[in-house]
Symmetry: D2
Subunit: 138 residues, 4 copies
Amino acid sequence: MTETPLDRDALQERLGFSTFIAFMGLEVLSADPAREEVVMRLAMRPEFERGRGSGQWHGGPIAAVIDTVGDYALVMLLGRPLPTINFRVDYLRPAVNTALTATARVRRNGRTVGVVDVDVANDAGALVAIGRASYATG
Amino acid sequence: MTETPLDRDALQERLGFSTFIAFMGLEVLSADPAREEVVMRLAMRPEFERGRGSGQWHGGPIAAVIDTVGDYALVMLLGRPLPTINFRVDYLRPAVNTALTATARVRRNGRTVGVVDVDVANDAGALVAIGRASYATG
Amino acid sequence: MTETPLDRDALQERLGFSTFIAFMGLEVLSADPAREEVVMRLAMRPEFERGRGSGQWHGGPIAAVIDTVGDYALVMLLGRPLPTINFRVDYLRPAVNTALTATARVRRNGRTVGVVDVDVANDAGALVAIGRASYATG
Amino acid sequence: MTETPLDRDALQERLGFSTFIAFMGLEVLSADPAREEVVMRLAMRPEFERGRGSGQWHGGPIAAVIDTVGDYALVMLLGRPLPTINFRVDYLRPAVNTALTATARVRRNGRTVGVVDVDVANDAGALVAIGRASYATG
């Protein structure tokens, strides 16, 4: 397993291969293979609002961010798509009138399963949700 | 706690209060307060595709369906919005060229926490994902 | 994959291979490969009490029951030990002065991952906890 | 909310109030309210072994450690018992011939729900399991 890690630009390009991910509009801020950490930013879209006119993110797009950014932390290391086995998301506080910054850290890059933690923060740096996901690496 | 349960039409109307849920396009197929069960259907949208042209659902919208339909099983019983505490989704097989049918069953409608299971099936009736979610009912 | 499913007695014998499982004292009530369902019973042990003298089960042994009984639903089908990838347990109500009956149903017996739901009930048939676990089947 | 945090000795004393926790034999190594972090150690017991004579921890006691140490991170801050809502455990590698060191960090101490992450390491400092748990703080 001597994969060459993908860099920031390569990850950004790959995000465009998926219609849904391109629709979300994730921007790769950093990709650090040595720390096994990826950071992405997502601006609000009108379609992602919870109550009409509330400016609050619906939890659904936040969960999608966790699934995706967690996946790409392993994609960075392994250079190929990895199906999600399962994930958990805990909502910590409402995300209102803010972009989201998601930081994904690989906790285990195993032979058959990878586990990644994803913290999602608002523009003030406060956590709005945290995720933990497992992916099939075999 | 003598709430009057919401019926199918009332649930369908409430779905429209949220920009994101309206964008998804969920249709309430049935709402059964006695069985504490709600069934909704979601057609594919181009924006929800995984690989471009693959016809496969991205996992993100599937997770959003689980969060939302699970929530509305309790909304049906309690008649008010309920914040998600956390949820888990397990992906069982790819969902390709199909609508999704999500069946949410309340497992516990407690004083402070409600727990709901959501099964998501394809048009052939095979499970594509299952979710388990907890909501703040207090 | 033409494994011969294990029957009730074979599962009961295998439970004894593990010191911890033997210590718990799980009894196999039924093992139904066609329905992919296993039911086990666990009597209270003094060591499993939450508050001293409360007669209430601590959540730890309940979680251990979920992990174990869920695993054995797949062991029944596949005839070999299967490592747990991860699991979730939701506690629904206290379990006091009661044995536990755990019913495990396979939701997906995949090539690399199996997913099992476990319902844990008290002697009155009320749910005290529910679990969802994934195991490495590859 | 002006609770006085509990110190290491007070936490150790409280662990003895529960028959199960006392049976496990958890030792509080540190309790740091400012960092919202608790560290405990658990030696192997013969009853906690997976395969007979294997020296490997069964996953059940590891899950129980996560539930308990996570809980006590919030008990330290709030000074009272807190029921577990749910938790997830991911097993990362086998724990063999080792004690366990569990580090619990509060991610959110909310008005109704608290969320805690628990890392469980072996004597070599390698992670064997990670947990994420939510507790009712209301």
